[in-house]
Symmetry: C2
DNA sequence: CATTGCAGGATTGTTGAACAATCCTCTACG
DNA sequence: CGTAGAGGATTGTTCAACAATCCTGCAATG
């Protein structure tokens, strides 16, 4: 029966990829990707006619897709005016760091019972960031940094927490796009991430949590002034 | 100029209440309320034709509303089959308690800088629960209990954390509806809530967080067996 | 000069109908 | 007993139409 169980798992994966995908969701996927990778910059309007014609979907289907993205806060919907790629305010960025602090420090604090593979995922994300930094791929450094923090929350073994964290990080991408110096912004955190990952690997949960808490103290203030001066 | 600033704030509030409300959002509001108060029990299908005719909205508008509720996890959408009021599994309930623990304990831990009014809101929620218990309004006891925990997260002063918590608690309503004994389920927590509120009022953040953590240890195990046996 | 009022055009909000795709049920057949 | 298929019901998606609202520019007014 263990052999069939393996097959079942594989089938379950494939079902998600192949089977279920309404047009609205796929449209949302595309737009989400474009917002995250910066092709759609904050502030640009997504007109129903324009996007609908470009993707060859009807206005109704498109509106369903817009609802999804609005709920994820990647776009804003102004009544009778349309949807726009979100422009994060400084308050938004502060709030994003605040909820990150709640989720991440708490997850690290009680990571004692987490599966070993999840702890290794943290170290792997750090290593990926270090590789990207060596090659001066600063955008990838930012991506790896996010994967690192996502891996921290994953220690809590809560699908909903993971989902919330994913959304928070996607929103933060909106802030990073208006930063003009990705290197100066992302590079300083490489050492901190490594330090925290090593503490986790050594099962020093409490120390890691304290280190992380200190990280947020500095990151938040640093970011506020950075975001205020770098934005378009 | 400070006088006009005051006016502006008031106007901004009113704009949210009076101005913006698309049909889809109002439909979602209605359905959300019906799911939360139990009129729509978990598992029931929300057919597009039925609900659309009942609320006198078109299918397209209704589908937009459904998308919102799907994203809030109050209903599930099965491709080519329809939307159904969500039936929480035991795993779901465990996960909900897990993310609650992350958000709540972390919020309480760093509540030192929270505005006094937010701390008082915690005590007020406890008092409301005690009043409801005295009158044997057990459903209201559950509502007050949720308001209590919502108030705990509010200490973190993060709109996004508040929103996440609201959603989590709305989901938990789905579990409470299949419990047959609201009194036995809600009453034991009254004393714990009071204890935590008093610790917060005394600025004993650390002790309060530890007490809350212990609360989750017992609540989670207690709930799993309770949910397994009480469900319809 | 600043402000107000008012077309006109463009965009969104909402509806209804239509057709395709899929699922469910029931029946008939091997 | 199992299964293959027909038929009906529901959902997925598009299209066209109209109402409601917003934006722009211009004229009128003080």
């Amino acid at each position: 029966m263990t052999a069939t169980d393996k097959w079942m798992d594989l089938l379950a994966n494939d079902r998600l990829l192949l089977d279920r995908a309404s047009t609205a969701e796929r449209v949302a996927d595309i737009l989400r990707q474009r917002v995250i990778d910066g092709a759609l910059t904050p502030g640009t309007q997504l007109s129903e006619e324009g996007v609908g014609k470009a993707l060859a979907v009807s206005r109704n289907t498109l509106r369903e897709a817009f609802r999804l993205l609005v709920h994820e806060r990647l776009v804003v919907h102004e009544f009778h005016r349309g949807v726009f790629v979100r422009v994060l305010s400084v308050d938004d960025v502060v709030d994003l760091y605040r909820i990150r602090r709640l989720l991440e420090t708490s997850s690290v604090q009680r990571a004692a019972g987490a599966p070993k593979a999840l702890v290794e995922a943290v170290s792997e994300a750090v290593a990926e960031g270090e590789r990207a930094a060596r090659d001066e791929r600063w955008w990838d450094v930012g991506t790896a940094n996010m994967r690192f923090h996502e891996a921290l929350v994953a220690l809590a073994c809560s699908p909903r927490a993971n989902e919330t964290m994913r959304q928070v990080l996607a929103e933060l991408r909106l802030a990073f796009h208006v930063m003009s110096r990705p290197r100066e912004f992302h590079e300083p955190y490489l050492g901190l991430n490594r330090e925290i990952a090593d503490l986790l690997a050594a099962a020093s949960w409490r120390t890691a949590a304290e280190r992380l808490d200190a990280y947020f103290d500095t990151a938040e203030t640093q970011l506020v002034e950075g975001y205020g001066s770098y934005r378009a």
